[in-house]
Assembly symmetry: C2
């Protein structure tokens, strides 16, 4: 029998939600609560019949969830709370403990709480979401999808840092990789669309406000550019990505700042925003660059270059490349960025059709390209909903 | 007329020297002063007729240079100090100021002194060497070869970090690249040996105690793996290379340590030594791994993987690869490492002949390899001596 499954995707100050009829994967309603805890907090939703955006004071995740449940009822997609069979939560950090989604138990909750050391911003909000649903929907089955578990197949040679080994043993310092539901979704979709043979060696580029690149061999993640935390890897909206580690003590001493402040600078003042001095939004930077702003152009060039470096690096993990996938805000919409990225990949046989690229078509490679180049809209929530089904049907 | 040129290569606790007859490039004497400032300090030299190693208390660089000049005389390669026409010094950091070697002037000395902010260990020792020679050989022409100037052709998109732009303007935080004399020497040698066509797109791997990888396009450096400092890039003997920047504030807080201590850990306790727990010496780790030590094997695997990642990344800077060069202690002698590195590079057409590789031959590629693979012993001192000639003949 079909089941209604709610997928919850909590960020630091937002909650996205989608209610699916499963296993048909029919989307009944989607929406989001944004700017939680600020004066501009709002809630919006959309069904195939109706939709609405409300300015609403929402102090925290728990308050937002209260309102989300109200919406499910008032919009008519759910008559009674008991119809919601399961709720899936995306949790940022599962450490090395979880290779798959799991049912929520007191033990799992304890782990998520402990792992806030590794994800101080996100894990507590995720846990608050779980607790809120326990209260509001006590009968629904709750399942957790970890943002790093798809990457549990990364081999040790790629996940170890060359630091004193005890840091790995004592503090679990290693590469984890994130954006797992997105890399999983687009890589599975690509395998479905283009066949397993043509997607054996695949690189998926999730380019949004946060960005990461993954190397996928025969459907399994074998490397991913975010590291111990989501700060590492390519240049992002406000995050610096990889830098010479020596810069950090240098700046601490030079600016006389502590570990909190340097962390803030690297996470909030850097990336496209820090380089361009304009915005963290690729659209605004692209338009400034077109109007001759040099630092905007520089920001785009550095961003593109950092992505190319990872594509090149990951090609060695795969010993070649069959398919390159772009997804997320920038990956799905920024034709200029995709075109620039592909410019230095001739030697791999990557060749795109600029017309198809401009139209954000599903397949943007030229007929004589050796590598398939795809633009696949991501859908993290369907991975979360599928995980609920998998875990509860076991 | 031929000239005697002395090349001085100062490290943090050592000085290597070579006296050449130029422009013939005939080596008259070579030697080194090591472990300066410690109880095990010693001085050794070799000419084609004689050689010697002496235990000798050497407090500092200046004392060592005093003894080096004595040796030049007592070994008979120089009758009178005035025969030494010029002295070339390798200086670690020239910032963005110097694109080529320069004659020493009070202004250059001032810059080197100022740049100790960027190279606190090496620039002061280099400057001490310059001053010592001004005293001991007041008539010789002094020239400085900077360890980063060969990399001045790296484009801005590759040398900028995605940090707030003012850090670049105010503190000159950018990628510099180091090991310049070595990358320059082996890349010029490769062009000479194999021709410009076959070496258009070249990657040079300097693998020693410190290691770096460079992308060389038509003889010019277009990227290099060390960054703002020599800590960044691939895994090294005791240095960590690239890590998630967030690890640094994390460890500072967790271990309650300051910027000095974290810098020390990343520079001295990490790399092959930190991973293996055995040594920073590749030979010892390789032999432990052969005897079944798992962490030794892991250290080698992580080292090799980090080098492969850079080779892949730099192939995008070059849009392909014609020649791959190995040099320095590990690059010249560790056949196992070279063989492992080349394993995942099939897709680039890299194929080595294991027999030639074992013998450290100059060309180790298989007959059907699309890419030339070379083992070229580095010679930083000849670059320094050539720089003296170039600068003084202008
Ligand atoms: N239509 C579009 N054209 C170009 N860029 C877009 C478009 N839509 C979104 N973006 C870019 O995508 C980025 C945000 O991506 P998104 O995937 O929504 O981020 P998040 O990581 O917050 O989920 C922004 O830099 C934005 O400029
Ligand atoms: N014959 C050899 N076989 C294998 N490795 C060697 C050999 N000689 C030196 N090495 C390795 O080279 C490294 C030192 O390289 P070197 O270029 O001398 O370093 P530095 O950066 O100090 O100049 C050490 O890890 C050492 O194990």
């Amino acid at each position: 029998m079909s089941k209604k499954i709610l997928a919850i995707n909590s960020g630091s100050s937002s909650i996205k939600f989608k209610l699916y009829l499963m296993p048909e994967e029919k989307l009944l309603i989607s929406g989001s609560a944004e700017n939680l805890g600020s004066s501009t907090s709002q809630l919006s939703y959309k069904t195939d019949k109706t939709g609405e955006t409300r300015q609403l004071p929402l102090k925290n995740h728990s308050e937002a969830i209260d309102h989300i449940i109200d919406i499910l009822m008032s919009s008519g997609v759910v008559q009674d709370k008991s119809e919601i069979y399961g709720v899936g939560h995306r949790i940022s950090h599962g450490g090395s403990y979880y290779t798959h989604a799991v049912a929520v138990t007191p033990e799992v909750e304890k782990r998520i709480d402990e792992l806030k050391v590794l994800s101080p911003l996100h894990n507590p909000n995720g846990l608050a979401g779980i607790k809120a649903f326990e209260k509001f929907l006590p009968d629904a089955k709750e399942v957790v999808t970890f943002d790093n578990s798809f990457h549990h197949t990364i081999p040790k040679k790629a996940y170890m840092y060359a630091l004193p080994y005890e840091f790995y043993e004592k503090y679990q310092i290693r590469r984890y990789g994130f954006h797992a539901p997105s890399h999983q979704y687009v890589s599975e979709k690509a395998r479905e669309l283009f066949g397993k043979e043509k997607t054996r060696r695949m690189i998926t580029c999730h380019l949004g406000n946060g960005s990461s690149i993954s190397a996928i061999l025969d459907g399994k993640s074998v490397n991913s550019s975010m590291g111990f935390t989501p700060l590492a890897g390519v240049v992002m909206g406000t995050r610096c990505g990889d830098i010479d580690p020596e810069i950090i003590p240098f700046l601490e001493e030079k600016l006389n700042i502590d570990s909190h402040e340097i962390r803030r600078i690297m996470n909030e003042d850097s990336g496209l925003k820090g380089l361009s001095g304009i915005s963290n939004d690729e659209r605004e930077i692209e338009s400034a660059a077109k109007n001759g702003n040099e630092r905007a152009q520089l920001a785009l060039d550095v961003f593109v270059h950092s992505i190319q470096q990872y594509i090149g690096a990951y090609t060695t993990d795969l010993d070649g490349l069959d398919t390159l996938v772009f997804t997320a805000g920038i990956g799905e919409h920024a034709a200029y960025i995709r075109s620039q990225i592909c410019k230095n990949l001739d030697y791999l046989g990557v060749k795109i059709d600029e017309e198809k690229n401009k139209n954000n078509e599903l397949s943007i490679e030229a007929p004589d390209s050796k590598v398939k180049v795809a633009v696949i809209p991501t859908n993290e929530e369907i991975i979360i909903a599928r995980d609920v089904m998998k875990v509860t049907q076991q």
